[in-house]
């Protein structure tokens, strides 16, 4: 028989070639596996960190609320009263430019504005988790109806005896 074609010489043997291809494929798959696994692991870590950040934000918010409640005016007034402080309605200023004193500094007796000294709260005001509630603002209003005699004018512009008090 005659040779029809010239067979080229192969660089590696068939077996070798197969092994090389298998190695490349194996490496590729291995790389994919490593990347995917690490992504999965990082994603878990990210979730965990997010949860931690959320938890810390909640704690910060809770502390913030507590701080604001404690620094409310009523709460401060109560604390100031506990410390023995009293309000001073007598104005006196020190002019920082020249050190002059403006106004008349007057020592207080302690009874000037008693309604500004914080009072203890009523029992019904205090909820379970909060610090002592500030004093109740509603004054004790009497329920009785006015005892003024009823005036008669039928409408707003009644003419006689309208004597509005000055």
């Amino acid at each position: 028989m005659s040779e029809m074609t010239n067979r080229p010489r192969a660089g590696v043997s068939t077996v070798g070639f197969v092994l090389i291809v298998l190695a490349i494929v194996g490496l590729g798959l291995g790389g994919v596996m490593v990347v995917t696994t690490s992504i999965g692991a990082q994603s878990r870590e990210l979730s965990a960190l997010r949860n931690r950040a959320d938890d810390l934000a909640y704690e910060s918010a809770a502390l913030g609320t507590q701080l604001e409640t404690l620094s409310s005016t009523a709460s401060l007034a109560l604390r100031a009263t506990d410390l023995g402080m009293v309000p001073n309605p007598y104005p006196a200023f020190v002019s920082l430019a020249d050190g002059k004193i403006l106004g008349t500094p007057t020592p207080v007796e302690g009874d000037e504005l008693p309604q500004l000294r914080g009072r203890l709260p009523k029992v019904t005001d205090v909820p379970a988790q909060q610090p002592p509630a500030p004093p109740s603002e509603s004054p004790q209003l009497p329920g009785e109806a006015p005892t003024e005699p009823v005036q008669n004018p039928d409408d707003v512009v009644a003419a006689d005896q309208v004597g509005g008090r000055g």
Partner: protein, 681 residues
């Protein structure tokens, strides 16, 4: 032998040639006759047959002679026609591919979105990212209203009773022990963090679902639990029965339920308002600014499987737009102090309700707005529903003698009156069908305009007011802001009413001393502020600034300002008002500052009986008189312990001024208050 034409199955020539060779011994031409073509054989065979012994039987030519090995003919495969088989095969394959192709077309070309969406929907979840509600703070940044993250704590009683056992398998003994201990342990955790009694929680765990009769799967335990508390509950649940996480507890869940917190409780609550159970504003600024405070919720779409979020899957997030933060003009410290002092005033006057407005006369900013009785914004249900609004703007009343300030201002601006204008005041004056008298009896007296205001003479005011056109007076009142909404930002404002220019004469007489028209407290305060600050009306404001979620300032509508009276007229009126204070400086003056004011005691119109029933005692004070900065206006409704504004409301005004003036760095007065003539000879 290269005899190709011979069919291959046939025997080779050799045995025949044996026969042929034998026969050839007989004849010389046998070989040639054997190798000759079959066409020549017959004649040769015939020849041979005739030449050989005629008695021998005729034998098949290709049959081997007896004794020789016989070969069976091999089984012949019927070769099916390949063409047919191929065609059949092709048709079948074409059919299959055709079906596949049509299906592929159907899935991918006809309606791909629907199928993709269906597949995606099995994997994708969409979650709302709620927007954080805007905060409301006072002028110094003190928080009046804020949102704290919170949870609604729910339990699954079935899960608690079995401690999260998998229903598909029977419980092991260890699991059964856990299930015994679980409800008690969970109840202990809930008691520790939420309060309440253990027995109540155990009762919740025993609840059954009415429809199915089995143990309930969902029960709400507590609402508006701070998020930090909830994470502590979760941590304790995870720590489990022994506290080390080996036997965790199951069955407590949380749904987001943000808490609106009002750290200052009832301070400023009439202005700030409150939210309802869904977190929407129900009154006050929470209601008026609901849309801006609420912001816009976001959305987040992601892929998830049983094991959690798929890392590289769809991840679309529309961030939430948080609400706008508002800063008010209120000063919460001054507000609280005003509340206390007004409460004392109401108590002393035995009045029904009271209002106090503290305002910066040069800017119209409301520094304090006390409305008592008030409520706690975090617990509005505990208060009387009548107290949940803001009477300072919603309640209109007849102002009484404080209106004389505005009348005098109009007259002064017209040039008709100066503080020294002399008026002979009779004991009573005819007006409409009857007579108007003063609050104190007198004969005919000679009062200066200053004296008329100081003594609050109705008759004198009527006499002076009659010098002006009715239309002009009405115009002045409108320019002072009476009779129309002031647009301060507070919702539910009552515009009040003033008569028009075609009012009857007696109405003009009445409105000059403050009856026959209605105003609300903020309106009146702004009107008087416009008179004392040099003659410019500034629209009252409660909102100082607004900041968006991105930190940028949000534009607010510009407050309006307009000139209403001249500076000279303003100075004259303030001088007249100072005479009010100087009428009784021991009781009416405050240490360190010159003050000016005007009292009011008006009869109160009662719509129920359509008559005048009770009084409205009020006082307005401005300081320092030489250059007014701060105005305080106090109104006491239906006092029963007397009714004079100068007696009941004046002390409250003075107390507020004493606190407010140093607070805003107003320097004490350096000049003495003048004592000018109230009467003349």
């Amino acid at each position: 032998m290269s005899d190709e034409r011979r069919p291959p199955a046939r025997k080779p020539a050799a045995p025949r040639s044996t026969g042929g060779t034998r026969r050839a011994r007989n004849g010389a031409s046998s070989r040639t006759s054997a190798t000759a073509s079959s066409s020549t054989r017959k004649p040769a065979a015939k020849q041979r047959a005739t030449t050989a012994a005629p008695a021998r039987k005729r034998r098949r030519v290709d049959a081997p002679p007896p004794g020789e090995r016989r070969y069976r003919r091999s089984a012949s495969l019927k070769l099916a026609s390949t063409g047919l088989r191929l065609r059949v095969f092709l048709v079948v394959v074409a059919l299959l591919l055709g079906v596949a192709g049509v299906r592929a077309f159907q899935l991918q070309a006809l309606d791909p979105q629907a199928f993709a969406a269906e597949a995606a929907s099995k994997m994708q979840t969409t979650r709302d990212e709620p927007a954080i509600r805007g905060a409301i703070t006072d002028r110094n940044g003190v928080v009046l209203a804020e949102t704290e993250p919170g949870f609604k704590v729910t339990v699954d009683p079935d899960m608690i009773k079995t401690n999260g056992a998998d229903k598909r398998y029977p419980m092991s003994r260890k699991k059964q022990e856990e299930a015994e201990l679980a409800p008690g342990a969970v109840a202990d955790i809930l008691v520790e963090h939420l309060g309440g009694r253990k027995a109540d929680y155990l009762e919740i765990f025993d609840r059954t679902n009415e429809k199915t009769g089995k143990r309930s799967r969902y029960e709400i335990v507590a609402r508006q639990v701070p998020a930090h508390t909830f994470t502590q509950i979760q941590a304790d649940m995870r720590a489990g029965l022994d506290g080390d996480g080996k036997r965790p507890l199951y069955g407590v869940f949380g749904e987001s339920d943000p808490i609106r917190v009002y750290p200052n409780r009832s301070t400023g609550s009439n202005v700030v308002g409150f939210v309802n159970a869904e977190g929407k504003g129900a009154s006050g600024l929470e209601y008026a600014l609901q849309e801006q405070l609420a912001g816009v919720d976001g959305k987040s779409t992601y892929d998830r499987s049983t094991y959690g979020r798929i890392p590289l899957g769809t991840n679309i997030m529309v961030p939430a737009e948080d609400g706008v933060d508002y800063q008010l003009t209120l000063d919460s410290d001054l507000q609280w102090m005003t509340d206390q002092m007004l409460a004392e005033g109401i108590r002393n006057a035995k009045a029904k309700t009271g209002t106090a407005v503290a305002m910066n006369v040069h800017t119209g900013e409301i520094l304090a707005l006390s409305v008592l009785p008030t409520f706690d914004s975090s617990n509005p249900g505990a208060a009387d529903p009548d107290d949940l609004g803001n009477r300072a703007v919603t309640q209109a009343y007849e102002p009484g003698s404080t209106q004389k300030v505005l009348t005098m201002a109009a007259l002064a601006d017209q040039g008709l009156v100066t503080p020294d204008t002399r008026v002979q005041v009779p004991p009573r004056i005819a007006s409409g069908g009857g007579y108007v008298s003063d609050s104190y009896d007198h004969g005919t007296i000679n009062l200066t305009a200053r004296g008329i205001l100081a003594n609050s003479s109705n008759i004198g005011t009527i006499q002076l007011a009659r010098q002006m056109e009715k239309g002009t007076l009405s115009q002045y009142l409108a320019s002072f802001g009476l009779g129309s909404k002031s647009g301060s930002g507070l919702p539910g404002e009552n515009a009040g009413s003033i008569p028009g220019k075609d009012m009857p004469d007696y109405t003009r007489d009445q409105i000059s001393f403050g009856q026959g028209l209605s105003v609300n407290a903020v309106q009146m305060a702004s009107a008087i502020a416009s008179v004392v600050n040099g003659g410019t009306y500034h629209q009252p404001r409660i909102i100082k600034s607004a900041t968006g979620a991105d930190g940028k300032a949000v534009e607010l509508p510009e407050p309006t300002s307009r000139e209403v009276i001249s500076e000279e007229a303003s100075a004259m009126v303030v001088e007249m008002m100072e005479a009010v204070t100087m009428l009784d400086p021991d009781k009416r003056a405050i240490p360190g500052y010159r003050t000016a004011g005007k009292s009011g005691t008006a009869q109160r119109y009662d719509p129920k009986c359509k008559c005048y029933n009770g009084f409205t005692a009020s006082y307005v004070g401005v300081a320092p008189a030489e250059d007014p900065q701060i105005l305080v206006y106090v109104v006491l409704d239906q006092p029963t312990n007397g009714n004079l504004g100068s007696q009941l409301a004046l002390p409250v005004v003075n107390q507020v001024l004493q606190i407010a003036l140093p607070r805003y760095n107003v320097l004490p007065s350096t000049s003495e208050a003048p004592r000018k003539a109230l009467t003349f000879e």
